[in-house]
Symmetry: C2
Subunit: 514 residues, 2 copies
């Protein structure tokens, strides 16, 4: 064996923006995703695990004028000169899979997918270049029943993982309603006899002709998106003359005519105490706009379908203030919001906020096949939902550590192994201390680091008498911290039991019955 | 919105050597890994999910004399010129993680890891460039109790996923025993008064001095590795004068002296009917070789520790013919073999064979820190074990398809949605047909493609009478295939039940009680 050339030692570190997940961070996420998958399965959705690696061509990220397509993706060139890349989401691969396998897939195709995605972006605090996504999509149907189904499924999934009813709401809006309102606003604002707006805006709108609505829609949508932060009045200011933000900086306004502002503000405020009233309010606002009326009818259909299954206004809310994603989706959009309060970094209470979003989009597969295929989907923010479950105390509470059997006599390892064997047979997590057993203090330190609830001790004396010592480490820690000497005496945290009662006693301690 | 430049349509295909996994292929693997994780957790092993992306430096695949380190890994250069790569296994990342976090991890550190790895190799039939690995390792202890524990855990994991006791065996060998035997063989074969071997071999052995054992060990190990295929006699031929293989081609022999061949053949055949006898046989073979005796003592310790926990010769077998991996590992090696028979591609019965392997290795972390850290681990072949479970009928049997509620009247979608809602509440997988409902035949074709066990039909007539039709599609298919007309009449596969008995009747059909 030739000796390898001496090289400097490599650094032991993850690449910048990547991280490792240990213990409960892995298993808690897996358990949550597993519970969600159970719900999705029950709804008839099939699992899909597409390749993590795609051709850059299929991802649609190839820029013909640069050598390396690294705008947002991690990419490299294969032996045969093909550019490959890690997927940056689960939707682009779904499009590729559907186009590739559409003759073998049912129509419509309901699928869910869970797994890591990779972004070649500047990492920051809490922003990693590899993270989990959890998506469900129905491809191949324009029926609003598909949209309704996804809203119901999302509600069920949240409850399944431990968000109680009342602590979440699925809010639903529709891009077509906003389009309809903008149609009408433009018609009225820029009709020859009603030109009350800013001449520059009007001129731009007139010049671009058919495109005018889309040009201005982008600006309007960006503005409405600030509703959460600045409220109705702030939005009205931003639509007209502009406003000062919290830092005192002036944000110029869109110079929209008052009649337009009035409609848009009404749109944002159309939400009523029940969904039928909201639908009626919206119907008034879009009257005579075919697109707008279509959007309202879709919202009504979704609300009716959901109500028939018992998903009422307490869980599903038609809400025109859901603006995020309106630019991306083509019809209904939805957002799951957790309504319980947490404290922000400055200690002020605020709602936990959004943990999932989705909507209808129609150009998924056309890139590959030229055919428009209607689709609707939802994506759960995995890290956000995990954080919410931790906030609610749904995960992270239980003792994860194993029972540790200490080693008092190195030659009696087989006896200690037999103990953990019995404990595991009873379904109890257990391990023998496998470090250097010389120093007993180190064994207890190890048990502490492992988060062990219980330690077992059997030295020569105990063996001779046929007993074992069982230390309740959690109680012991509590006593050490809080108890007076009197109390400590009354509540011992160490028990001596016959060897054959080991499993029983440990189970009692673990279930709090000791 | 500027119109994007027209580009040719991308091809909808996975990159060469990559594939997608659909439905049960995803969920069955997930369920198997979840069951294994449960066992590993009970043994005190902690989950670890390291980043999929590592620096090439940390993976140890960097070749200083080539521009791109693409020997086996997918690699690319980061903005800051660093080479990054996808992990090619789960052991190299464990080394990096342990070196990076060793001050925060318990000693010893027991961890398991499950996930995809990527190999930049030529793909072939059944050989993909992305596949799953499932590893468990204990880092930081030289105690044989760690090795024994991993063997027991492996046995438990196999039983947990559905391989019954008697259908598997964990075979254990030790690199040090073979080294000891080779030591002795060399001493005797090349002692000045006993030079009976081929002069060329002897000359090579003498010239390299201390290195001679290792030089020849590689050749010997490659030869012993053929034991499975060619048997003891074939190995003896290959150690001496060579032999013709099945195709008639001549494989030259190693020209070992007869005394060496005798020892090695005895080594291969040292397995007895119980582990103590095997240990005794091996002890005879390595007498006076300190390394060999150490290896035998280790095997004895492992067997004793396991026997004390009830893992006897029916599950754990000391077996010197386990040679695979001996070159890589430094002490004990183990292999889990499934002993039930399957038919090979030519219809001949053969044992299913190996599904997991592992052993002890000591140079894991030294690359990073300069310190030797003892470690032992096992890796389950995920795809192999899944294939075995399919062979045994443990997975893939159950109906995965959902109950399909057909749409007889497009305007009554809410009623159909209510039906699937009730079914799901009862834990039954169910969906409404969301394609174009015009052609009822298409709905039944869809149900067939979905593998649906049951279809529900409620037209206007049924609604008026307050009933639903329930079609047992599995029974229907059986009848269509096998039954005579008489039988068909006696066993109807369609039932009419009151609407409020829908869930009950479907459940009866699904549990075979109809």
């Amino acid at each position: 064996m030739a000796k390898p050339k001496k090289q400097p030692r490599p650094k032991a570190e993850t690449p910048k923006g990547f991280r490792d997940y240990f213990g409960a961070d892995v298993t808690e996420r897996a358990a949550m995703l597993n519970a969600i998958a159970g719900v999705y399965h029950r709804y008839g959705f099939d699992a899909l695990e597409s390749s993590a690696v795609e051709t850059v061509e299929a991802l649609g990220k190839f820029l013909p004028d640069v050598d390396r397509p690294n705008d947002g993706v991690f990419a490299w060139q294969d032996e045969d000169e093909k550019w490959l890349a890690l997927r940056y989401d689960l939707t682009a691969p779904l499009a590729r899979v559907y186009a590739q396998h559409r003759n073998d897939l049912p129509t419509p195709y309901r699928r869910y997918a869970m797994g890591p995605v990779w972004r070649n972006e500047k990492p920051g605090p809490g922003r990693f270049r590899q993270f989990y996504q959890c998506d469900a999509d129905t491809v191949g149907t324009a029926s609003m029943a598909a949209d309704a189904e996804i809203c119901a499924m999302l509600a069920d999934a949240l409850e399944e993982v431990g968000i109680p009813r009342g602590d979440y709401v699925v809010r639903v809006n529709n891009r077509k309603v906003l389009n309809g309102i903008i149609d009408k606003v433009m018609d009225r604002a820029f009709a020859p006899d009603q030109q009350e707006g800013d001449p520059a805006v009007i001129e731009r709108a007139m010049k671009v002709g058919q495109q005018r609505v889309y040009e201005i829609t982008d600006d309007i949508m960006r503005t409405l998106d600030k509703f959460d932060k600045v409220g109705v009045e702030g939005v009205a200011e931003l639509l007209t003359d502009g406003r000062k933000d919290a830092s005192g900086a002036f944000i110029p306004g869109l110079k929209m005519p008052p009649v337009a502002v009035e409609s848009l503000v009404k749109f944002l405020g159309a939400k009523a105490d029940d969904n039928s009233q909201t639908v009626a309010n919206l119907r008034n606002l879009v009257e005579d706009s075919p697109q707008g009326e279509e959007g309202v009818a879709e919202l009504e259909q979704i609300a009716d379908l959901l109500a028939a299954q018992g998903y009422g206004h307490d869980r599903i809310v038609i809400d025109p203030s859901v603006v995020r994603g309106l630019g991306y989706y083509t019809g209904p959009v939805f957002e799951a919001e957790l309504t319980f309060e947490i404290l922000d970094e400055k200690g002020r209470p605020r709602q936990f906020g959004s943990v999932a979003g989705g909507g209808r989009y129609d150009d998924l597969v056309a890139r590959f096949t030229g055919q428009q295929v209607p689709a609707v989907g939802v994506s759960i923010g995995v890290d956000r939902l995990l954080a919410a479950l931790r906030e609610k105390g749904r995960i992270g509470g239980e003792a994860q550590g194993p029972v540790v059997v200490t080693v008092m006599d190195r030659d009696r390892m087989a006896d200690y192994q037999a103990m953990v064997g019995e404990l595991r047979q009873a379904g109890i997590r257990a391990e023998v201390y496998l470090g250097n057993p010389k120093n007993f203090g180190n064994q207890m330190k190890y048990a502490d680091r492992r988060g062990s609830p219980v330690a077992i001790i059997e030295g020569g004396d105990e063996q001779a008498r046929g007993v074992v010592q069982i230390k309740d480490l959690i109680l012991g820690a509590q006593i050490a911290e809080n108890a007076t000497l009197e109390e400590w005496k009354e509540r011992p945290s160490q028990y001596e039991v016959p060897r054959d009662q080991l499993v029983e006693k440990v189970r009692d301690i673990l279930t709090g019955q000791s």
